[in-house]
Homo-oligomer: 430 residues x 2
């Protein structure tokens, strides 16, 4: 509920990755009911949800929350949906969706990320005359931290998300990003987003935190979390966030942050069943007017700027590794395509000889078609991957060029070697 005391505005924000996959997530319907009860009872200003994969679940929740959350939107994308939705007490003035260019591989059926339209959803609210741009997102899952084959995709998504917010929030007084970043606080994805947009982390900013140790949002104590998954992280991991910033003219702080705490009788939810395999985040933010500052773009404190350059360089490098892999796949599957064509020709060729049994002909043809279709699909996937990573790298390169040009003194503080470019795409002013 929004409360106004003097000129300060309070904003209560709820975030949860709901883990609501029809037929697969345990106790899904009961948990969604509990979630509805909690949201009605606690009366937040905004509830930002991820992994609501069924539109029916959204619709049931919407019906239940209607008396308290008059505005709602479910972001539709991909084949299954984005899983993202927003419930708001305050009128939603505008909505917009940006689907990420890269999102896993179609042949990784067991992971399934490719089939969801992973995206960033944006809603624009006006709260007591303050223009708030709210972003909700969910980045690609991390299935194996040691051998993370999706790292380049996740970093590219993080960059796309950061760029989207950077370019669409120019008129906003307050920017709010919440969701499951599938990145630990030390990971490049999280740091890239925070550094490029200049966002604060509610967990790090608040003086009043209650919840899981270290602010974790996936904990071994939660009965839906596999203990094997948490082997390397006995306290759990922090991968869900509420991040914010205020543009010049406003100041924003996090007065309090609470998380749910896994299984067992739960003060926050009132039930012993956890709401999800992730913990919910509940932040109370306070927005108040501040003096307007006039500063040029990119002119940050030199150390902060050097740190941004380091992060950009690291992201660029990760994408480069992904790009090298994708190009290798383009090359290999290109060869497989030729093999498929050869098999087809052989199938046709054998028809000319009467003494070759028709089974051999058919085998060549069927094999040829299978190899052609399979390698064709893989070729296209890798081609798309390489294009998207190349584009993201180009954007980052330009960002670094511009930052260096604006503050050449930063180059001295910048610890990384100069970029070894795969191709010079930008000619810097001579």
């Amino acid at each position: 509920m929004e409360s106004e005391s003097g000129s300060s505005v309070s904003l209560k924000v709820f975030n949860l990755n709901c883990w609501a996959i029809p037929y697969m997530s345990k106790h899904r319907q009961v948990r969604m009911q509990h979630l509805g009860d909690l949201l009605n009872q606690k009366n937040f200003d905004l509830a930002l949800l991820q992994e609501v994969w069924s539109e029916r679940d959204f619709e049931s929740l919407r019906q239940k929350l209607l008396p308290n959350y008059t505005w709602a939107h479910y972001f539709r994308s991909g084949f299954i949906g984005s899983g993202l939705c927003v419930f708001s007490k305050h009128p939603i003035q505008e909505i917009f969706l940006h689907t990420f260019s890269l999102n896993g591989y179609p042949y990784k059926l067991q992971h399934g990320d490719w089939f969801c339209g992973k995206a960033v959803g944006m809603v624009v609210l006006e709260i007591c005359g303050i223009l708030v741009n709210v972003y909700v997102t969910h980045l690609h899952a991390e299935y194996n931290r040691e051998h993370d084959s999706y790292l380049a995709h996740r970093v590219a998504q993080a960059w796309e998300l950061a760029q989207f917010i950077h370019h669409t929030s120019r008129r906003a007084d307050v920017v709010l990003l919440s969701g499951d970043l599938n990145s630990h606080p030390g990971d490049i994805g999280y740091r890239l987003i925070r550094e490029w947009i200049g966002l604060d982390d509610s967990y790090l900013e608040t003086q009043d935190f209650q919840g899981c140790e270290d602010g974790c949002t996936m904990v071994p104590n939660n009965c839906f979390v596999s203990s094997k998954e948490m082997e390397s992280f006995p306290r759990g991991v922090r991968i869900d966030y509420i991040l914010f910033k205020a543009i010049s003219g406003f100041h924003i702080t996090c007065d309090a942050l609470t998380t749910t705490t896994g299984s067992g009788p739960n003060d926050t939810t009132g039930h012993s069943l956890p709401l999800s395999d992730h913990e919910a985040l509940m932040a109370t933010l306070s927005i108040r007017p501040a003096p307007i500052e006039h500063k040029r773009n990119f002119t940050r404190d030199p150390e902060a700027q050097a740190s941004l350059m380091d992060v950009l360089h690291e992201a660029w490098t990760e994408m480069g590794l992904g790009l090298a892999g994708a190009r290798q796949w383009v090359y290999s599957t290109g060869h497989l395509l030729s093999l498929g064509l050869l098999l087809l020709f052989l199938g046709v060729g054998t028809m000319l000889f009467e003494d070759i049994p028709w089974v051999a002909e058919a085998l060549f043809m069927v094999l040829g078609v299978i190899v052609l279709i399979g390698s064709g699909a893989l070729y296209l996937t890798s081609l798309h991957e390489s294009k998207a990573l190349y584009e993201a790298q180009a954007e980052i390169e330009l960002a670094m060029e511009m930052a260096k040009e604006a503050q050449p003194e930063v180059v001295e503080l910048y610890t990384n070697p100069p970029l070894i470019r795969t191709s010079v795409r930008f000619k810097v002013k001579q």
Copy 2:
């Protein structure tokens, strides 16, 4: 070349759909060379190109133009690329790419749009202290005007383009959109873009026009244009545009607009071979400071607002027709999927009976797999199509709600019946 006289800044902009498909477009390499010569000779500030499908062509052009156009970017997306690129005399400060959610069907191999990553590319320039957001785009082709199966896709793209510009240009002083919209001036796509962003059309605004009759950009006189295609349009069609607006604080006008004029000895290019199957647009724009206006969002002149409402309603309806079609496909292909499963089960079932020949078993299995894969792919395509159209409709509905709420008097002028919603997604403030 930028020229500054007093406080007015002149901007020379070039736009062309290059029709540069490797192995398919006639005289591609010669035409690209001529294009390079022309761009070097005429010294534009900005050249915005579409259908440069080969990155090698871009690279050759970049090398050739380097002395005059120091900055360049090719937008990479999809499997083939976006075909979009920008050459600029002025430093490119930022780049960003938004790929459209919908872009034809993968099984329409003969059209191929699906394989390109049709998108809107954005570059941010600072010219004499004026922040210019430049957008280049290419919407889905129109293959059959009478039975246009891609209309809903093109309208959804137009809306996404308009939304992207609307949200990313908040800090810009000047907005420039150029490209091949594949929409005639009366078409809903063109009107939607112009009305939602408030763009002016250089052809309609200029007092000094030279070129094809009616400003057409595809003319029967061009030897690469099939006369059959132009049967219904003896003068040609206008589908390529340079559109612009200035944000409060600046005023922009189009001093002159020229197009190339098809085949024959050509004063503009100096060659008899046309540059492309499209005509090039060359605009001289003039930007000068203007008094700052303070006005609320959505408060337009009531008649303009009613006209916007009409356009939004028309776009919503077109998308609704597309959505109904997509849902029908989801339904039908869902049934086909069941048939595929049935065939597979039959194949497995026949194995239990020894007197059934193995050929019959194999036939059931192969047929089952083919039907499953085929209908599965079609099912996913239609599902994705319906999600994207639904999302675009929801955004438009909200835009109409907000406009009506801001200016209720417009409702009287608004000639269309109220929206019949497929589902109530937004609860208006009670």
